[in-house]
């Protein structure tokens, strides 16, 4: 009796919302930090500081490295429009936005062409330059504040926030979207602690309906390509409506790092990264929105790949579909891949 009631309740609770894995309009797809100029690139920084006493400003400034911040955005559904964006480095408030009552700095702003119609990649991009006096002082102020206010979090690493604000140039600014990414700056405690390397893939394998690969698929080498790219328009990867296309990432070697962090009890904890994948597209449907990642409570660890089912396209001659795979490790390392598949009857 009660169980029936609960079933009825749950049945009544099902909403009909947009599918999260299908990009319909303006949306931030991914953000990535590249710290320093090493290869492969690092997602965060590790500083040599002694936390038993307050670090010197000069020591911190001398060690802080330049950081590139890149955002992947899409705007498939709306009218063709340039996008206005800005990036701010700050400490987060309780709601996950920049706390503008504390030290912060807007380190980048600009406009880009409509990312879906432009023939070249259009991405918000900015550099955090500690050598810039105001930027450097602001970063140090944020670090010192966290060291004083929250020494434990400082021990684990201070997570600064990069806030991206973006909107169509013609729209009111209150319609802007917000995205946030953490930039961790950590002390070298324990000594084995090293910066996190952004994950990477060597390529994406494909199979149509479990058989042959998608002809002409462009991400075999793990490189991105856009539907509006003239090269793609010259040589498309095509599938038929209703085809199930398996996309499987081949991780680059050493993608899953072993890393050392301090424990609350003072001991060193060594962990192995898990890597997850988020799958997005402008049309069709996905068997799994996210794959990989850690174990669930039953011990399952999902396969890395996901099946994308090509949409039926009505009376059209073809339909270009943008697909994204966002690879993430568990320490804010990110690598997005964008590609395109064309559905033809």
């Amino acid at each position: 009796m009660r169980a029936l009631a609960m079933l009825a309740l749950f049945a009544g609770a099902c909403g009909t919302f947009e599918e999260p894995s299908i990009v319909l309009d303006l949306r931030v797809i991914a953000m990535r930090t590249d710290v320093g100029d090493s290869t492969p690139t690092k997602a965060d920084q590790v500083l040599d500081v002694d936390l038993t006493e307050e670090p010197q400003v000069g020591d911190l400034l001398a060690q802080l490295k330049e950081t590139d911040v890149t955002a992947w955005v899409a705007d498939p559904g709306g009218p063709e429009s340039r996008l206005v964006w800005s990036m701010t480095l700050c400490l987060p408030d309780d709601e996950g936005r920049c706390d503008r009552t504390m030290p912060h700095i807007e380190f980048g702003a600009g406009e880009i062409d409509d990312p879906d119609t432009s023939t070249s990649f259009q991405r918000p991009f900015a550099k955090i330059l500690p050598t810039d006096s105001q930027t450097g002082q602001t970063i140090v102020a944020m670090l010192l504040r966290e060291i004083r206010e929250n020494p434990v979090n400082a021990l684990g690493g201070v997570d600064l926030m990069i806030e991206l604000r973006i909107g169509r140039s013609a729209d009111p600014r209150e319609n802007d979207l917000y995205a946030a990414k953490k930039l961790r700056i950590a002390p070298r405690i324990p000594l084995e602690r090293a910066p996190n390397t952004n994950p990477n893939i060597s390529g994406i394998e494909t199979a149509v309906n479990g058989l042959a690969a998608v002809p002409g698929f462009a991400s075999g080498g793990g490189q991105s390509i856009r539907c509006s790219d003239p090269n793609y328009q010259f040589a498309k990867a095509t599938v038929s409506p209703g085809d199930a296309v398996t996309l499987f990432p081949n991780e680059a070697s050493e993608t899953r790092e072993n890393y050392a962090v301090p424990g609350l009890d003072g001991n060193t904890i060594v962990l192995e990264e898990s890597v997850s994948y988020q799958w997005l597209g402008t049309y069709g449907s996905w068997s799994d929105e996210t794959t990989g990642g850690g174990h669930d409570l039953l011990g399952n660890q999902s396969l890395l790949g996901s099946d994308w089912t090509a949409p039926f396209i009505g009376g059209r001659d073809f339909l270009d579909v943008s697909l994204w795979m966002i690879q993430r490790d568990e320490r804010f390392g990110v690598t997005p891949i964008e590609t395109c598949i064309t559905v033809v009857p």
Partner: protein, 893 residues
């Protein structure tokens, strides 16, 4: 020999006029057509008169009086009410009313049918000088019986042999009925049946007689018997309960007032309130002071407190509030319960270790009155109850229930893929048994055991998938409660009660093909408690309830889970499970005393004190809780009341765990205070109202603080005694007691409950705060063995926090909501109407009931919560129950 003066009081019934009807009383016209005329065709006849008690002061003063009264009689001859039409004072009016309320009439008839009527009469109080009585006469032989001087169930001349004897039983249940007046109409002999329903008439000679049985909850029974010369006959009188429902009908019991507010529900009410699934805890939710629980759950939200702050006590022993799957049916079988009391605030000191409210379940003693039972079947589960005597002094009862969802779930679940498997087996059952042993002068001993089990096994395996499921959960509950009661002489009673319990919760999770679990949790909770209680009136002006309350509980945790309490930034980190053993122990010793002092006829003061000492996981804590209740009777109808008191509650021992808790956590405290009144204008109606304020402090709240140890390492604080939760409100209960055809109540609560987690936090509304809660419950028995019921609920929505935006979290691919002001909006007003109809078929030895209970009969859409799309742009309401009918069958014998 000189005589002595004795006081006698007698009455002369004078049927003055049938005041209930406009027409003048006149004899029926035999020639008149049989159309309703509203004419009194038969005057009521007094069958049983009770002599009033002469007011002692008036007797001493030699005063006499004639009291005119007006008596309202129902269609069965039972007196509904008595009014004094001309008051004379000196205690005569009250004595006359008390006597007249006990009269029994042969009912009046209107148009040839029994009907209610009102009559007037005069009761005379005189003092006569009477001579010393002569020696007892020799017992006569024949139809001249003397007044019986033996037990009330014997009538006639008890020097003569019994010639007519019998037993009165209730039709449908075979329950032997005490307190039934059995009369031989022709002889004017009355007997009142004993506890076993028996009656005896002595010395009745041969002849034809009419035996009349009258009882206020049953229809009158008239049966003719013929007694032959030198014969003795036995008769069995089957009385039909009024309204056809074999369940007793009482709303609220009389109180030995040692508390300020107690709201009582009797067992039969617990089965017939629509929309409550026959669940006693859910019926309590219709009382004032209770906030509405979302999704129909059985949470007890008393005056702004958290559910865990209200204790549920079974015969004084605290038990967890236990329901089957998903907050499903309560494990407490209503047949095993005698009554259910809600103490919403200022509760007696015998209930301890809680600062919210108290719910007391009193278990129903078994009886040696034959084999009785009941059975119930609906779509999900079936259950039964049986009670029987084992020996003359030993009786037992057993109740059980089992679900059979698992039996038909396979028919509605999709088939597993080829080569795979899919198993879903939810099973719940519960049982309760009780033994009672009558030690007569040495008291009464009892043993009660209750247990329940909820298990769920889910196996889902697809050979083409890398993911599979093998999940098992089990929740088991078991309690044994012993009891011994005996009189200590006078009005004092001793109760001793030990109890033992064991609760287990287990969970294992694994892949279907795995050899063993990947994660598991096992929690075993063993408790031992003991209560000793002495209660009664050691002095005419003093009522006492005092005793000891000891509780020992040990909880063991054995878990195979990912543990990340040593990691500083654990978000998103894949941590392998590791074995974890923890334990927590509680020893609580409490002593209490509630003392009711009748300062004068109007004022009663009830000072209380409760002392508790604890050893919580090795840490010692103590609390001292003084309380005071005052009750002032303005008159017989109106009582004013006020109270103030301290209440304490220990933290869960897990909160003191050295690794996951804080060993320095202390006791939570609350101050309850309030004023109110109780007004009972007549026997059927009453009003109970109160204004209250509750201030809770030192509440244990979660903390994310970390402290540095002397060695430079860090420790998480986890818990602090920094929480506050205050509430105030007004509540009123307007109640109509159960009568032959109807009962019901209207309860309304206005409340304001707010809280803050830490001293520097802002005050916020509590998550369950609801300013207005209205419950209307009505039950009506229109006749022909039908019972119709309805419950209407109206409640303010719960506080909610609006979401005004979202931020894409580029590190995990999801969106984080941006919240507006915390708890600044509310879900919409909640309204729901539940109805219930039950038809009973009464047979001599059993009864059958078919019922339909429809929840939300108007299919109102009630929003319980809000769900959002992945980026918090769109929202949709999560609604409560749609219209939900339940059909069931129950039999009773």
């Amino acid at each position: 020999m000189l005589g002595r003066y004795v006081a006698i009081a007698f009455c002369v019934i004078a049927i003055c006029a049938p005041l209930a009807f406009a027409q003048e009383a006149r004899p029926p016209d035999p020639q008149a057509p049989p159309t309703p005329t509203g004419v009194v065709t038969k005057q009521p006849k007094l069958l049983q008169a009770v002599a009033p008690e002469y007011p002692p002061d008036a007797l001493k003063a030699g005063k006499t009086a004639d009291v005119k009264v007006r008596i309202r009689i129902d269609a069965t001859g039972v007196v509904l009410g008595v009014d004094v039409t001309q008051k004379v004072g000196d205690g005569f009016d009250e004595a006359a009313i008390a006597a007249a309320m006990q009269y029994v009439f042969d009912p009046a008839e209107i148009d040839g049918k029994p009907a209610p009527i009102t009559v007037e009469t005069v009761i005379h109080f005189v003092i006569e000088e009477t001579p010393e009585p002569d020696p007892l006469p020799i017992p006569p032989v024949g139809n001249n019986p003397q007044v019986n001087t033996g037990p009330p169930n014997h009538a006639g001349n008890d020097k003569l042999p019994v010639t007519i004897e019998g037993v009165v039983v209730e039709r449908g249940t075979r329950r032997k009925m005490p307190g039934v007046i059995v009369s031989i109409v022709e002889l004017g002999l009355d007997a009142v049946t004993a506890e076993d329903g028996s009656f005896y008439f002595h010395g009745v000679t041969e002849g034809k007689y009419r035996i009349l049985a009258v009882e206020d909850k049953s229809e009158r029974l008239l049966r003719e018997v013929t007694l032959q010369k030198r014969e003795k006959i036995e008769v069995r009188l089957w009385m039909r309960p009024k309204g056809g429902n074999p369940y007793e009908t009482v709303v609220e019991g009389e109180r030995e007032v040692l508390e300020v507010t107690r709201r009582t529900l009797q067992r039969q009410q617990l089965t017939s309130i629509p929309g409550t699934f026959g669940d006693p805890i859910r019926v309590i939710q219709t009382m004032p002071g209770m906030q509405r629980a979302p999704f129909g759950l059985g949470l007890l939200l008393v005056r702004g407190s958290n559910p865990d702050d209200t204790g549920i006590f079974v015969n004084g022993h605290e038990v967890p509030s236990l329901f089957h799957f998903l907050g499903g049916p309560s494990i407490f079988n209503v047949e095993m319960l005698e009554s259910l009391d809600l103490y919403p605030g200022g509760f007696p000191a015998r209930f301890g270790r809680k600062h919210g409210g108290a719910v007391a379940l009193e278990l129903r003693p078994t009886k040696s009155d034959g084999v009785h039972g009941s059975a119930k079947v609906d779509f999900i589960d079936a259950g039964g109850y049986v009670r029987a005597p084992l020996t003359k002094n030993l009786s037992f009862a057993f109740a059980g229930r089992r679900s059979y969802i698992d039996a038909f779930l396979g028919f509605v679940l999709p088939d597993p893929p080829a080569g795979g498997q899919r198993i879903v087996t939810p099973v719940y059952y519960d049982f309760a048994t009780r033994f009672d042993y009558n030690l007569h002068e040495e008291g009464r001993a009892s043993l009660f055991a209750i247990g329940s089990s909820d298990t769920l096994r889910v196996v889902d395996q697809d050979p083409d998938s890398a993911v599979s499921t093998d999940l098992s959960t089990a929740i088991k509950f078991f309690r044994v409660i012993g009891g011994y009661e005996r009189s200590l002489g006078g009005d004092m009673k001793l109760s001793l009660s030990p109890a033992w319990g064991r609760d287990t919760i287990t969970f294992t999770g694994a892949q279907a093909e795995a050899a063993g679990p990947f994660t598991s949790i096992s929690i075993v909770n063993s408790s031992l408690s003991y209560r000793a209680r002495i209660a009664g009136r050691p002095h005419p002006k003093v009522a006492l309830d005092t005793g000891l309350d000891i509780l020992s509980r040990i909880t063991k945790y054995d878990a195979l889970i990912p543990v990340n309490d040593n990691l500083i930034n654990a978000q998103g980190v894949d941590i392998p499970p590791s074995r974890l053993f923890r334990g927590a122990s509680t020893l609580g010793i409490g002593a209490y005393a509630d003392v009711g002092i009748d300062v004068n006829k109007r004022l009663k003061l009830i000072p209380s004190l409760r002392l508790d000492t604890y050893i919580l996981d090795g840490a010692q804590r103590a609390s001292i809780d003084p309380r005071m209740v005052a009750r002032w009777a303005y008159d017989k109808e109106l009582t004013l009341k006020a109270y103030v008191g301290e209440f304490s509650q220990p933290p869960q021992p897990e909160a003191l765990d050295k690794r996951f808790g804080n060993p320095d956590v202390g006791i939570e405290h609350a101050t309850h205070m309030g004023v109110g009144y109780e007004w009972k204008p007549d026997r059927l109606w009453s009003v109970d109202s109160e204004i209250y304020y509750v201030r809770r402090r030192n509440l244990v709240v979660f903390s994310q603080d970390v402290v540095m140890n002397d060695d430079g390492t860090f420790s998480a604080v986890n818990f602090l005694n920094e929480g506050r939760r205050d509430s105030f409100g007004f509540e009123i209960l307007v109640k109509r007691e159960i009568s032959e055809h109807a009962f019901g109540w209207l309860s309304y609560t206005f409340s304001n409950a707010h809280q803050k987690q830490h001293p520097d936090s802002e005050w916020l509304k509590t998550g369950f705060d609801q300013p207005h809660v209205l419950n209307a419950v009505a039950s009506w028995k229109p006749g022909r063995n039908w019972e119709l019921g309805a419950r209407f609920q109206l409640a303010s929505g719960r506080p909610d926090t609006p979401i005004i935006g979202a931020t894409y979290d580029a590190d995990d691919g999801g969106y984080d909501p941006v919240r507006g002001a915390l708890r600044s909006v509310r879900t919409p007003l909640f309204t729901q109407l539940d109805v219930r109809a039950e038809k009973m078929w009464l047979y001599d030895t059993w009864s059958l009931g078919l019922y339909i209970d429809i929840i939300n009969v108007t299919n109102a859409t009630n929003v319980e919560a809000t769900q959002y799309d992945y980026r918090y742009r769109e929202s949709a309401p999560v609604t409560g129950f749609p219209i939900l009918p339940t059909l069931g069958l129950r039999g009773t014998w």
